[in-house]
């Protein structure tokens, strides 16, 4: 009886551990996976693997504003409604992936084809690669080896990488972007957290507008006009609202509390 009870308890514990391994707990993305977006509105319907888009390489070369304002990509995966014909006609991915644009001294491959033959199918797999053993052209470790490191996300301090001129993201695409005057930066300001003793958040407009401009955040992400009128909660942020629109997906994740809660407590 005691032995049966022991074996039953052991079986229960093992089952609980096995469930914990494969349950609902989210696995933290590896550095090269952080910022990965899977696009599958119509890929599988067309007989292709879903598209795997890694933000890390593109953000090293282009500002967020260029893609999400000028080119027109939506901020939420799957909501842009990209079709192969859009890419083929020079829009969305096809704005750069047109077989003509030069990046890093190389010609950027053309996205999509009207009637893909065997040669084009190999090119299709460069993007339609989920579940396929496709070796990317750029290796994350090799590309970011000399970049300054940080704890979370891609493990790269992208802001410092730009300050140190290791990356110089372009904010202009010929035929797509407008020639603009340099942005007059707004002042930094402090946000007081609800939790007493928690350091104030110092929000830097300058840091954000360098990569985002104004229209990326206002009013789609930050609707409130008057400072203090909108109450931000960490639950909202971790749900992908406000700061969480970027800071759980592509920009440094909110696990790194001190990056925002940076004003010293008096």
């Amino acid at each position: 009886m005691k032995r049966a009870l022991f074996l039953l308890s052991l079986a229960f514990i093992l089952a609980a551990v096995a469930h914990a391994e494969t349950g609902v707990k989210k696995k933290r993305a590896l550095p090269h996976e952080y910022g990965r977006v899977i696009l599958n509105n119509s890929s599988e319907k067309a007989g292709l693997a879903p598209v795997v888009f890694d933000h890390w390489l593109h953000r090293a070369k282009y500002t967020c504003r260029l893609c999400h304002v000028d080119v027109g990509f939506a901020m939420k995966a799957g909501t842009t409604g990209i079709k192969a014909s859009d890419n083929f006609n020079g829009y969305y991915c096809g704005a750069c992936h047109n077989g003509k644009t030069i990046a890093d001294g190389n010609t950027v491959f053309k996205a999509c084809a009207k009637t893909p033959g065997n040669e084009e199918k190999n090119r299709c797999q460069r993007c339609h690669s989920l579940g396929r053993n496709v070796k990317p052209q750029y290796d994350f470790q090799a590309y970011t080896g000399k970049f300054p490191k940080e704890r979370f996300g891609n493990g790269i301090d992208w802001e410092k990488a730009e300050r140190d001129k290791l990356i110089q993201p372009s904010n202009y695409l010929e035929g797509v972007s407008f020639k603009r005057q340099p942005l007059t930066a707004q002042k930094d300001f402090a946000l007081n957290p609800k939790l007493e003793g928690m350091p104030d958040i110092i929000f830097s407009h300058k840091k954000h507008t360098v990569w985002n401009g104004c229209e990326l955040c206002h009013p789609e992400i930050f609707v409130g006009v008057k400072k203090g009128a909108t109450r931000y909660t960490m639950i909202d942020l971790f749900d992908g609202k406000y700061c969480g629109a970027c800071h759980i997906t592509v920009a440094f994740p909110m696990l790194d509390c001190q990056r925002c809660h940076s004003k010293q407590v008096q």
């Binding site: 027109g72 020639k179 005057q181 007059t184």
Partner: protein, 109 residues
């Protein structure tokens, strides 16, 4: 009399040629179209939406003018092909919404 008829006929032909036949394609809108040729809407779009960087320095009158110009552009963009319509409506929406946002923020200060 005959000369007058001939003159009137030639005048009508000249009007048709110089209007590009647009009144025949869309008689309802021919006389009401804004003065935008095929690619002029792009120049107007660029002129309107290139000012987003300066939005905070613009006055209410200028912002109102930009918003009105965005509203005028919208029906033109809606007549484009599916892809262009999708791309440019989104871009126009973003720049218009920013101007409205900045205008409201100035009014509520």
């Amino acid at each position: 009399m005959k000369n007058r008829r001939t003159f009137a006929f030639l005048l009508a032909v000249a009007i048709v040629i110089f209007s590009g036949g647009r009144w025949m394609e869309n008689p309802v809108h021919a006389g009401l179209d804004p003065v935008f040729a095929q690619e002029d809407w792009k120049n107007e779009f660029e002129d309107v939406c290139s000012k987003t960087q300066d939005a905070m320095t613009l006055g209410s009158a200028e912002l109102n003018d930009l918003i009105a110009r965005c509203d005028k552009l919208k029906p033109l963009i809606e007549r484009l092909d599916e892809t262009q319509k999708k791309v440019y409506l989104k871009r126009l929406g973003m720049c218009r919404d920013l101007y409205v946002f900045v205008k409201e923020s100035k009014e509520k200060k």
